[in-house]
Amino acid sequence: MQSSSKSNQPTGRRRSLKNRSVLFGLMAVLFLFAVGCSKDGQSTWEAFGPVAQKQLDLFNVILWVMVAVFIMVEGVLVYAIVRYRRRPGDAKPPQIHGNTTLEIVLTIIPTILVLGLGIWSVFTLFELENPPEDGPTPLQVNVTGHQWWFEFEYPDAGNGKKIITANEMRIPVDRPILISLESDDVIHSFWVPKLAGKLDMIPTHINEMWLQASRDKLEEDLPATLFGQCAEFCGLAHALMRFRVTVMEQDDFDSWAAGYGPPPAISDKAKKGKQLFAENCTLCHTIDGPDDPALSASRLTGFLTGGDITPVPAPNLTDLRTRQTLAAGITDLTESNLRAWLHNPEDIKPGNYMSERAVLYQNGSANLTDDEIDSLIGYLLDLR
């Protein structure tokens, strides 16, 4: 856009030039927005909750203020460039040194403009600090960042039931969710673009935010799945640290919470898988309900101490069979993807600590037969 509007060919008379360049600038901006903006996946152009909506509203205001200022200032610039280009035989132009009145005016106008935007921002900032007090009772979710996955803890998912799960956060629709953020290792950032702007997850700091998914804004039927992603560079697999937020009816959420528990291991295959899991996986993964805090702490110590084979914090797999994705939201949870993952996680997610630290993977791919892998899948996904 700039390239064409900056051309310095002689063009018509002053007024028509001015009108044409303003019109052209406006059309170029609209064209760019038409091709550039999308509402796909993680786009911030679409808000499904009050927090994201307020942020988007504010952005839309600034955006059009910026576009207006852009067209005005670039317009004057281009006008000056074209109008005052040197022509053969030009006399020396008037030697003007400045104009104090103009300077003062052109200082005051932008000051008012930016202060206005600033004050509006400050009000929004405080307004978004807490959910409205007259709304439904909020649900508390504690989120912990790990290299490179998200852990979600519901201290009370209903009837006092505590739930720990990973990489998929289920939330009831139209209910404020209070989120406490922390990290186990390095700084991560929690971001669900459709619901709220991001907030960092910092080791030993607890950051708090809230969000809410609104039924009247969601364009699809529930349950709806939204994308989330780590937004602070956190090392090798940063790009592969994603998650999902599933917005559900309160009833569906309640039945999910009530059904949260270890896979039942009914078939023979699943029983064999359960035994294999107990022998090979439980150093890092918990599968029988929320993690024991003492165990989590010792895993973290093992991770921070380092070494070739140490336990590391790893996703809780109790409800794996109810999830849609695998490996921190980077691929769909299907039998074949899970098989590929168990065979060699490094192929799917370079840098993951499972390949690096688990005894099973010290020779590259899994030290398991195809049959054993099938059994594990049968157990984890509760295939009958």
């Binding site: 700039q2 600034i62 852009f70 460039i81 921002s121 900032l125 790009a239 592969l240």
Partner: protein, 612 residues
């Protein structure tokens, strides 16, 4: 030792490679800085190429995450510390003494030392590629990712120590220019008669002197954490990773102005010359620069809006960041005011300067949108920010620097760069720049985070990324056009001393200038000194047709070349190199540096031939 070092005679010859290694002439040091920075620009540009090729398609596996992280880390580190800063310093070196009517900088040997330390620091940082221990935590290197056990190889040590070494150079250089500008102005050049480029250099140098100690503290703490068991930034040991962010950005935001103020100064020289009009609102441009220099210290936490500092802190930094847009806007209005009713000549230099203004407006406006903290929560750490910084640092700094190169090239070399190739260079760069970086605004708003080595096709980011990657190719061809232009000048004709009919005092002497610059210190007549002189001569019927006459060099006492700057710089570099390899080497380096300093202070004031 003093006795030994004191008797080594000063080198006398300017010839050959030794002449370059021992030179203390600000004009030659400028060339050394410029050439080094351009080689590094090529390296940093190729690193950007790897990034753009990897991101050109979804789920690409051209390079893995490890290599990609190294590329974006080294791309930004190189461009900020080893390209834009030294290119500005190259202009400081060449232009400042000439523009204030001085014969050299205040401390010529310190100036040489600054260059050699910078060169060795840059080499040290890039040696990390040869030993495959490349920094990979970003140019901001947020703790505690930079701590063990998260970064176990030596990459972060190369990064921290390389920056510490180069920081020494920056502070020494900056002090030199503060002293030079305050003390060595020719008679008649009051502060409010200084060219705006000199003003911006002064402000930048003061910012450098104050900002680098902050990052130095952070870097030393990081090196200590990684190598000597301290835990400044290790949360589990009682340290605080957020402390690093404060230290980094208290340095980092003034650093942004360190990168942009000098090109703003360059543009403020170029626009009046090619509009044949004095700069509009000179005092407002100067004072807005000073205000930026002061307010630049009060906005650092806008880089940290998502850290969770709370609504009070975020409000304060929202307002201060909003307000710093005002002096920046004042500059833009005044540049347009300079063009207004002027007689604009479209030289390549002028086109880059106009490109600077046009693109900086875009970067400035997106900057205002970041200041709106609630909506910035969505844009922080997305490609929207990448678009912004490239509009201010590429569209701004690099365009300003190219405007300066085309402007002062005839003064530096006595020859013109080719204007036709120059136009090709400009248009390729201008179009390539917008193709590469404009789509990034949309990518960010469409939710693409920064620093990801791959993305899934389902997000719809592929097309815009392809456009950006094509833009990179256009930019690269534009850069080749510039190199071709430089190569072309070997055949171009000599030009006069004042090809642009420029207002600066540097245009009154021959091109290239003699080693002593001015045979007689000029008496500065006013803000646009040389315009006034030419006009008065015209009025008196004796128009100026040539440069100031050359005189016999031996009648003018100039500082002699010296071995000690490069010798001392080797010692400083070895101190850093030792921390990366074997500590014993650091002690050797320390001894060499000490010896260099002693030899330096005992050095005879002049070469033997000059003893009278």
């Amino acid at each position: 030792m003093a006795a030994i070092t004191g008797v080594i005679p000063r080198p006398t010859s300017y010839a050959g490679i030794w002449g370059w290694m021992t030179t203390v002439d600000h004009k030659r040091i400028a060339v050394l800085y410029g050439v080094t920075a351009f080689i590094l620009l090529l390296i940093g540009g190729l690193e950007a190429g790897v990034i753009r090729m990897q991101l050109a398609s979804a789920d690409n596996d051209l390079v893995g995450p490890g290599r990609f992280n190294q590329m974006f880390t080294m791309h930004a580190t190189t461009m900020v510390f080893m390209v834009i800063m030294p290119l500005s310093v190259s202009f400081f070196n060449f232009v400042i003494p000439l523009a204030i009517g001085a014969r050299d900088v205040a401390f010529p040997r310190l100036n040489a030392l600054s260059f050699w330390i910078f060169l060795f620091g840059a080499i040290l940082m890039n040696v990390s590629f040869l030993v495959n221990q490349v920094p990979d935590a970003g140019w901001f290197s947020y703790a505690n990712l930079t701590e063990k056990p998260f970064s176990v190889n030596r990459g972060l040590d190369f990064w921290a120590i390389g920056l510490l070494v180069m920081g020494t150079s920056s502070v020494a250089g900056a002090l030199n220019f503060v002293v030079t500008i305050i003390n060595l102005r020719a008679p008649g050049m009051s502060m409010m008669r200084m060219p705006v480029f000199v003003w911006m250099t002064l402000i930048t140098s003061i910012l450098l002197v104050l900002a680098f100690p902050v990052i130095t503290v952070g870097l030393i703490e990081l090196v200590m954490d990684r190598n000597f068991g301290t835990h400044f930034f290790i949360p589990t040991e009682g340290g605080d990773p957020v402390l690093w962010q404060h230290l980094f950005w208290v340095f980092g935001h003034p650093e942004v102005y360190i990168l942009i103020l000098p090109p703003m100064g360059i543009v403020s020289e170029v626009l009046p010359t090619f509009s044949r009009k004095p700069l509009f609102g000179y005092p407002f441009i100067v004072f807005s620069g000073i205000v930026i220099g002061i307010m630049g210290w009060a906005v650092w936490s806008h880089h940290m809006f998502t850290v969770g500092l709370g609504p009070v802190a975020n409000s304060v930094f929202t307002i201060t960041t909003m307000l710093i847009a005002v002096p920046t806007g004042v500059k833009i209005f005044n540049w347009i005011g300079t063009l207004w009713r002027g007689s604009i000549e479209f030289s390549t230099s002028m086109m880059f300067a106009l490109g600077f203004v046009a693109l900086f407006i875009v970067g400035g406006l997106s900057g205002i949108s970041h200041a709106v903290s609630p909506s910035d929560f969505q844009q922080q750490d997305t490609y929207y920010i990448v678009a912004h910084i490239h509009y201010v640092l590429f569209g701004g700094s690099i365009f300003g620097i190219f405007a300066g190169i085309y402007y002062w090239w005839p003064k530096i070399t006595g020859k013109m760069l080719n204007e036709t190739t120059g136009r090709l260079h400009f248009w390729l760069t201008f179009i390539g720049m917008n193709l590469t970086f404009f789509p990034m605004h949309f990518l960010g708003l469409n939710g693409m985070p920064r620093r990801i080595y791959t993305y899934s096709a389902e997000f719809g980011w592929e097309n815009l990324n392809q456009v950006a990657s094509i833009g990179y190719v256009v930019l690269f061809v534009g850069f080749l056009a510039f190199l071709f232009n430089v190569w072309q000048t070997r055949n171009s004709r000599k030009v006069g001393h004042d090809p642009w009919d420029a207002p600066g005092v540097e245009w009154s002497i021959s091109s290239p200038p003699p080693p002593y610059n001015f045979a007689e210190l000029p008496q500065i007549e006013g803000r646009d000194h040389y315009w006034i002189v030419k006009e008065n001569a015209e009025a008196a019927g004796t128009p100026i047709t040539g440069p100031e006459a050359l005189v016999d060099e031996s009648t003018i006492h100039m500082p002699s070349p010296s071995y000690w700057p490069i010798f001392t710089a080797v010692g400083v570099a070895l101190i850093g190199g030792g921390l990366l390899s074997h500590y014993a080497l650091s002690f050797v380096g320390g001894a060499i540096a000490m010896m260099g300093i002693v030899g330096w202070s005992n050095e005879p004031a002049a070469a033997p031939s000059e003893h009278h």
